[in-house]
C-alpha cells in the first residue's frame, strides 16, 4: 500500500461514547438503583449497575429478632406482593418447627397469595404500559389493585406492608365480609382485565415496542438463575408451585404459561396469563374452602386466647413467653421457597436453637434478574432499556433487601 494514503476503517476511528446516568432517581427506575449506561447516541453500548441505595440490612436485623417479629421485615422486600413474602417466611419457620397446617389454612393462604400475585403482576404489566407511554390502562387496573388492598385491609388491617398471617396460620379467620369481597373481586376483575388486554395486548404500537426487546435465551436465563415469569417467558416451565408444591398447591389445576423468546412482550403475556390462572385458583380455593380452624393448635407458637390469659396461669406463661420471644426454635437448617410475584422467593434459615435465627438469607429473584440486565439491553435503544427494566419487575426493595 502506498504510504501517502491512510485507509481509515470505521472500527479504527477512536469513537467516543457518552456516559448516561440512568438513576438513582430516574422516573423509570421505580425505586432507587442506578445504571451507568455507555451510550452511542440512543444506542446502549454497555451498562453497569449500582445497587445498595436502599439496603436496610434485613438479614442482619433478622438475626436479632424473635421469629415472629421477622414477618414485618419481609413486607418490605417486594412490597408489591408482601403477603407472599410474609407467608413464605412463615412457611419456612413452620418447616423448621415441624408444624403441619390443616387444609383450611393452606387454602386461605393460597387465596391470599394468589391475590398478591395478581396485584404484583398488575403493577408490573401496567407499568410496562406506562413506560411505553400508555397511562390509561394503568389507571384502570389500579382500581383493581386497590380492591385487592381492600381485601387485605379487611383481612389484617394493613394495605401495603401487610404483615399478614402468623406462624401457624392466620391471626383471624376469613370474615363473611372478606369472602364477599373476594367474590366481588372475582366478578369485577375479569371485566377489568379484559379491558386492559384490549388496550395493550394487540396494540400495534405496543407490540412493536415490546416484541424482540430485551430478550434472553432459556439457556442464559437458567445460567443466571432466573425463575418465575421471566424464566417462563424464555420458555422454561419452572414454577415452584408445581415443582415443589407447598400449601396444598397440588390440589389445584392450573396452567403454567410459557413464552418463546424471553422478550418483553413474552414477559407481558406470561404475566397476563398467570393472572387468569391465579383467578382460576382463587375461584377453586374459595369454592372448596374446607372447614377447620385458622390456626394450628400448638401452644409454643400460637398465642392463647385472651380470656384464658387473664384467667389461667398456663396461658399467661405461654403468652408471655411467645410475646417476649422466649421460645427457642430447634436446631436446624432449612430452605423453603415459594413462587413469589416475580420468581422463586427463597428463605434459607439456620437455627442454632435460639430465640432468633442464626442466619436468615433471602433468595431475592430481583437481585438475580438485575445481574442479567446489561446483557439484555446491550445493543438496544434507550427506550428498550427502560421497558426491559420494567418488564423484569425489578423492585428496589427486594433488590437491595
Amino acid at each position: 500500500m502506498n504510504e501517502n494514503y491512510t485507509v481509515i476503517h470505521p472500527e479504527d476511528i477512536d469513537k467516543q461514547y457518552t456516559t448516561l446516568n440512568l438513576g438513582p432517581t430516574h422516573p423509570a427506575t421505580h425505586g432507587i438503583f442506578q445504571n451507568v449506561l455507555t451510550m452511542d447516541g440512543e444506542k446502549v453500548i454497555d451498562s453497569e449497575q449500582t445497587i445498595g441505595y436502599i439496603h436496610r440490612a434485613f438479614e442482619k436485623i433478622a438475626e436479632h429478632r424473635p421469629y415472629y417479629q421477622i414477618t414485618p421485615l419481609t413486607d418490605r422486600l417486594n412490597y408489591c406482593s408482601s403477603p407472599i413474602n410474609n407467608i413464605g417466611y412463615q412457611l419456612t419457620v413452620e418447616k423448621l418447627l415441624g408444624i403441619k397446617t390443616n387444609k383450611r389454612i393452606d387454602y386461605m393462604r393460597v387465596i391470599i397469595m394468589e391475590l398478591a400475585r395478581i396485584a404484583d403482576h398488575l403493577v408490573c404489566n401496567s407499568v410496562i404500559g406506562v413506560d411505553t407511554g400508555a397511562l390509561t390502562g394503568f389507571v384502570y387496573i389500579f382500581q383493581e389493585r386497590e380492591f385487592i388492598y381492600e381485601i387485605y385491609e379487611e383481612m389484617c388491617g394493613a394495605r401495603l406492608t401487610t404483615n399478614i398471617g402468623r406462624i401457624g396460620g392466620f391471626e383471624r379467620d376469613f370474615s363473611p365480609k372478606v369472602i364477599e369481597k373476594i367474590r366481588e373481586f372475582i366478578k369485577r376483575f375479569e371485566k377489568a382485565l379484559i379491558e386492559f388486554e384490549n388496550l395493550l395486548l394487540r396494540n400495534r404500537i405496543f407490540m412493536d415496542r415490546t416484541i424482540k426487546v430485551g430478550p434472553i435465551s432459556a439457556e442464559r436465563a437458567i445460567s443466571y438463575g432466573f425463575t418465575g415469569p421471566n424464566l417462563r417467558a424464555a420458555g422454561v416451565d419452572y414454577d415452584v408451585r408445581v415443582f415443589s408444591p407447598y400449601c396444598s398447591y397440588e390440589d389445584f389445576d392450573f396452567i403454567i404459561p410459557v413464552g418463546t423468546h424471553g422478550d418483553t412482550y413474552d414477559r407481558f403475556c406470561v404475566r397476563q396469563t398467570e393472572m387468569w390462572e391465579s383467578l382460576k385458583i382463587i375461584k377453586a380455593a374459595l369454592e372448596n374452602l374446607p372447614e377447620g380452624k385458622h390456626l394450628v393448635d400448638d401452644p409454643y407458637v400460637v398465642l392463647p386466647e385472651k380470656e384464658k390469659v387473664y384467667s389461667k396461669m398456663e396461658a399467661l406463661i405461654y403468652h408471655f413467653k411467645i410475646v417476649m420471644g422466649e421460645i427457642d426454635a430447634p436446631k436446624g437448617e432449612v430452605y423453603h421457597s415459594v413462587e413469589g410475584g416475580n420468581g422463586e422467593l427463597g428463605f434459607y434459615l439456620v437455627s442454632e436453637g435460639e430465640r432468633s435465627p442464626f442466619r436468615l438469607h433471602f433468595r431475592r429473584p430481583c437481585f438475580i434478574y438485575y445481574q442479567a440486565y446489561p446483557e439484555m439491553i446491550r445493543g438496544g435503544m434507550l427506550s428498550d432499556a427502560i421497558i426491559t427494566m420494567s418488564s423484569m419487575n425489578v423492585i428496589a426493595g427486594e433488590l437491595d433487601c
Binding site: 413506560d131 407511554g133 397511562l135 390509561t136
Partner: protein, 339 residues
C-alpha cells in the same frame, strides 16, 4: 388610522383568544384525561376547576428561577422565548370568519391576508424546532440534549411528508392563500372528502410537529425525565408547556381551515342570515371544529403508547413519505384527466 386600530384590536383579540384557549386547553386536557381514566381531574380551584389554569400560571410565575451554572445563559433564555414567539405567530394568517360589516366598511377577520398563507404557516411551523433545539442544547444536560436531538430529527422528517400532503391540496385548490382555500370549500366541498389520504398524513404529521402523543419522544418523561425542558423551571418551563398547547390550538385551526372547510358549514348560505350574524356563526363553527380537533389530539394522547425513536423515523420516511408522494401523483393524474 382606523385601519391601524382595527388591526391592532384584531391582533390583541386573537392573541388573547389563543392564549385563553391554550390556557383552558390545559384544564380541558386534565378534565378529559380524568374522564377517560375514571377520575375527576382538577376540581378544587373554582367551580369545576375553572380557576385551575390561573392557579397553575400563578404558581409557575412565582416558582424559583433555576438555571444550571454550566448553561449558556443567553441561549437558555432564548429557547423558551423563541418557542413561545413561534407558537403565537402562526395564528396571524388564519381566517377566523367571514368578513364583518360595520358601518359599511368590511373588516376581514384575518390579521394578514397573505397570498402565500400556507407557505407562511409552514415556514413558521418549521421554526418551532429551534426553540426546543436551542433550549435542549443550552441546558447542558444529556437528557435535554437527547430530547433536543429527537425533536429536531422528528420535526425535519415529518415536515417533508406534511409538505407533500399539502402540495397535493394546493394543486387541487390552485392557491396558497388560506383565505382562498377556505372560500373554495363552501358548502360540502370540504377538502377532507377529496383528499382523505392527504388529510390523514397531514394529521399524523401535525401530531408529530406538536410533539403530542404518540410522538412525544422529545419530552418522554419515562425515558428522558423531561426531555428538552428537564433543566427548566419557573415560567421558562411554563412557556415550553404552554407553547405546546398553543401549537395544538393552531394546528387544530390549520387542520380545520385546510381540510374541514374553515368557518364554512353546510347550508349556512341558505339560512338567509345577515352578513354579520353569518360571520359570528362562522366563527363559532370554526371554533367548534378546532375544539373537536383538540379533543381528538387529547383522546389519542390518553389512549396510545408512544413510538420508539427508530420506529418513528421508519414511519416518517418509509411509510408517510412514499404515501404522500403517491397521493401527490394520484392527485396530479386526476387533475390532468379532468383537464
Amino acid at each position: 388610522m382606523l385601519f391601524l386600530v382595527y388591526k391592532l384590536t384584531l391582533i390583541t383579540v386573537i392573541l388573547l383568544v389563543s392564549l385563553g384557549i391554550a390556557m383552558y386547553a390545559t384544564l380541558l386536557e386534565r378534565k378529559f384525561a380524568g374522564f377517560l381514566q375514571d377520575r375527576y381531574g382538577p376540581d378544587r380551584a373554582g367551580k369545576w376547576g375553572l380557576l385551575q389554569p390561573l392557579a397553575d400560571g400563578g404558581k409557575l410565575f412565582f416558582k424559583e428561577e433555576y438555571m444550571p451554572n454550566t448553561a449558556d445563559k443567553f441561549l437558555y433564555i432564548l429557547g423558551p422565548c423563541l418557542t413561545m414567539l413561534v407558537a403565537l405567530l402562526t395564528s396571524a394568517v388564519i381566517p377566523w370568519g367571514p368578513p364583518l360589516v360595520i358601518g359599511g366598511v368590511e373588516y376581514t377577520l384575518q390579521v394578514a391576508n397573505l397570498n402565500v398563507g400556507v407557505l407562511y404557516v409552514f415556514a413558521i411551523a418549521s421554526m418551532g424546532v429551534w426553540g426546543i433545539m436551542i433550549g435542549g442544547w443550552a441546558s447542558n444536560n444529556k437528557y435535554s440534549l437527547m430530547g433536543a436531538i429527537r425533536a429536531s430529527s422528528q420535526m425535519i422528517s415529518y415536515e417533508l411528508a406534511m409538505g407533500l400532503s399539502i402540495a397535493a391540496l394546493i394543486m387541487m385548490m390552485g392557491s396558497v392563500s388560506l383565505n382562498e382555500i377556505v372560500a373554495q370549500q363552501q358548502g360540502w366541498h370540504w377538502n377532507v372528502i377529496y383528499q382523505p389520504i392527504g388529510f390523514l398524513i397531514f394529521f399524523i404529521c401535525a401530531l408529530a410537529e406538536t410533539n403530542r402523543h404518540p410522538f412525544d419522544l422529545p419530552e418522554c418523561e419515562t425515558e428522558l425525565i423531561g426531555g428538552y425542558h428537564t433543566e427548566y423551571s419557573s415560567m421558562k418551563l411554563g412557556f415550553y408547556l404552554f407553547a405546546e398547547y398553543i401549537n395544538m390550538f393552531v394546528s387544530s385551526a390549520v387542520l380545520a381551515t385546510l381540510y374541514f372547510g374553515g368557518y364554512h358549514f353546510p347550508f349556512i348560505g341558505r339560512l338567509g342570515l345577515s352578513p354579520n350574524v353569518a360571520a359570528i356563526l362562522g366563527m363559532v363553527i370554526l371554533f367548534a371544529k378546532i375544539i373537536g380537533f383538540i379533543l381528538l389530539f387529547m383522546w389519542i394522547r390518553w389512549t396510545l403508547p408512544r413510538f420508539r425513536y427508530d420506529q418513528l423515523m421508519r414511519l416518517g420516511w418509509k411509510i408517510l413519505l412514499p404515501l404522500a408522494l403517491l397521493n401527490l401523483a394520484v392527485t396530479g393524474i386526476f387533475i390532468l384527466l379532468k383537464g
